[in-house]
């Protein structure tokens, strides 16, 4: 049997990858991909807990998360397309005209 903690470790590591990627990478597309990693990590949690608790809710909710992630990706990519029409690069640094 696979202990629950193994799943949790994998999901935490994936969450870490996603967070680091989101904060460090300058390319908008890669940032989007990091967000997908975070959501995957959460889904992994849900499924692992579902197996532990014997409750199928943890397998139903990730369906919603996946759907919403896909919708978010579509909109994020739409924003990228928009940006690419205005500028020639999708590096996030270039999108920082407004003073902080």
């Amino acid at each position: 049997m696979i202990p629950l903690s193994w799943y949790l470790v994998v999901s935490v590591l994936m969450l870490a990858c996603g967070l680091v990627g989101l904060l460090v990478r300058r390319n908008f597309i890669t940032v989007l991909m990091s967000v997908e990693l975070i959501l995957n990590a959460a889904n992994l949690n849900f499924v692992a807990f579902a197996r532990q608790l014997g409750d199928l809710t943890g397998q139903v909710f990730p369906v919603f998360v996946i759907t919403i992630a896909a919708a978010e990706a579509a909109i994020g990519l739409g924003i990228i397309v928009q940006l690419s029409r205005l500028k020639t690069t999708v590096a996030l640094d270039a999108v920082n005209e407004m003073r902080g």
Partner: protein, 479 residues
């Protein structure tokens, strides 16, 4: 199942009208006026339906997803009224920007739909899905008007940070699910109360809280707000500052007090520090702003801080003060941003403080309205803002957070400085300097401002009936 579906009438009307607007737009026959009319009709019909469906007490619908109590009733009416005012205020902007309006109105309706479900949700699954509906519609609206780089920058930042906060929230949800075995707020509360809390539950709770504080734009999760509010087209800024923010607060109150109440001792500490930091930083950062939209963005961060006092206090008094402040803040902020929308000349005018120069001489009525809104934001009687803050601070003191109330009062005083900078430009700067811009008198925009101004005065002078209406709404749990 039929009886349950009828309960959804307001939301069905919103969704249906949104889809209908999209269809009519695609068919290419209607004019912008028709789109405007349809949007208005949809929102008004939905409001009537909300009142018609009424309250159902603590009965839950759709397998424990929705609870149609007065809390839900109030918030849904608030969101619908805000949407209506935003639609009115968008008119001059849409005409100037010459952008197609069909999708715009549809997106506003869909965002409001998400907000309505947020108001009545008592299950984390429903709350999350509704939150995302509202958020996704908002991201699109932020980037709707092409041609301004700042608008795209705003949409990008809004999106990235919004997606990050959703990710954190979902991860927190997953841990909470693991710890309690359920996503229903009532069951989560039961499980939390029934024994020592596991590490997973605590971690999940704090991540969930962090995600929600992002949406509310509390410090240190506020980073997206100034840029997004400044860059987005002004009617959208008005919408973001009022609609999604109030919806996020509705969710925050429900999740914290219905779901996480047994752990109150822990999160209250964190929230108290966040509230203090938000009030301080929001006001301090606004002091040095020259761009009115950015200033108002920091101001709305500060107002979120004040509202957190009421959230922190909890109980019937605290919750009532939060609800009342959401009402007050909505009319005031819509008014202030609305006036910025109407400051004409070019698309993004009304941005600098200097644009207000001499307004009192040229258009005294508009200047007076702005004065009213600024007084309300600053919390000066006899405006609604004063009443709202009074109740918030009173609730905080009552719940043992007197130090936070003191911080709030001091910071309110500080805020007067930057609000009065605008007043000074309007009234004291001489008209001959010619830098100021004129206020457009577009019919619907003016009507929206009139409504906001009247409401700001009304709730300041006579808050009793509103407060009486909100008192039962504060009973989201048997305190």
């Amino acid at each position: 199942m039929n009886a349950q579906v009828s309960v959804l009438l307001p939301e069905l009307l919103l969704a249906g009208m949104g889809i209908f607007i999209l269809l009519v737009g695609v068919l290419g026959r209607g004019s912008q006026r028709l789109a405007f009319f349809l949007a208005n009709f949809g929102v008004l019909a939905s409001m009537v339906a909300v009142v018609g469906v009424g309250e159902r007490g603590t009965e839950t619908f759709f397998a424990g997803m929705l609870q149609l109590d007065r809390f839900a009733l109030f918030f849904r009416l608030l969101f619908l009224a805000s949407a209506l005012l935003v639609v009115w205020l968008s008119r001059p902007f849409l005409q100037r920007a010459q952008q197609t309006a069909w999708e715009y109105y549809a997106l506003i309706l869909f965002a409001t739909l998400g907000m309505c479900f947020l108001a009545s949700g008592v299950h984390l699954a429903g709350l999350y899905v509704s939150l995302e509906l509202m958020a996704l519609s908002s991201y699109i609206l932020a980037g709707y008007f092409r041609g301004e780089v700042k608008s795209h920058e705003a949409a990008t930042k809004y999106f990235v940070l919004g997606a990050l906060s959703s990710g954190i929230l979902i991860y927190g949800l997953s841990l909470m699910y693991g710890a309690t075995g359920s996503l229903s707020l009532a069951e989560v509360s039961q499980k939390l109360a029934a024994g020592p809390r596991s590490v997973a539950a605590t971690a999940g709770m704090f991540l969930l809280l962090a995600g929600m504080l992002f949406k509310v734009a509390a410090v240190p999760f506020h980073v997206w707000t100034p840029d997004v509010y400044e860059g987005a087209p002004t009617p959208m800024t008005a919408f973001f500052s009022v609609g999604p923010k109030a919806a996020a607060f509705a969710m925050l109150v429900r999740v914290l007090w219905v779901g996480l109440a047994p752990a109150a001792a822990d999160w209250r500490l964190l929230v108290s520090w966040v509230a203090a930091a938000t009030m301080v930083w929001g006001n301090v950062a606004a002091l040095t702003q020259d761009n009115v939209k950015r200033m108002l963005a920091y101001s709305s961060i500060a107002h979120a801080g004040y509202t957190l006092l009421g959230v922190l206090a909890g109980g019937p008094l605290g919750t009532q003060s939060v609800l009342f402040y959401m009402l007050v803040y909505a009319v005031t902020n819509l008014g202030a941003f609305g006036l910025v929308v109407l400051l004409a000349a070019k698309e993004y005018a009304g941005e600098k403080v200097a644009d207000f120069r001499g307004l009192a001489h040229r258009q005294p009525v508009a200047a007076f309205a702005m004065l009213l809104f600024l007084l309300s934001l600053g919390g000066i009687p006899p405006t609604a803002g004063f009443m709202g803050k009074l109740y918030l601070f009173a609730a905080a003191v009552h719940a043992g957070y007197a130090w936070l109330a003191v911080v709030g009062v001091i910071m309110s005083a500080v805020s007067l400085y930057y609000y009065f900078r605008i007043v000074k430009e309007m009234y004291l700067a001489s008209a001959g300097e010619g830098e100021g811009v004129a206020v457009l008198s577009e019919a619907w925009g003016v009507r929206a401002l009139v409504v906001c101004a009247l409401a700001t005065l009304l709730f300041g002078v006579y808050p009793t009936s509103a407060l009486a209406f909100l008192a039962p709404a504060a009973k989201i749990v048997p305190w």
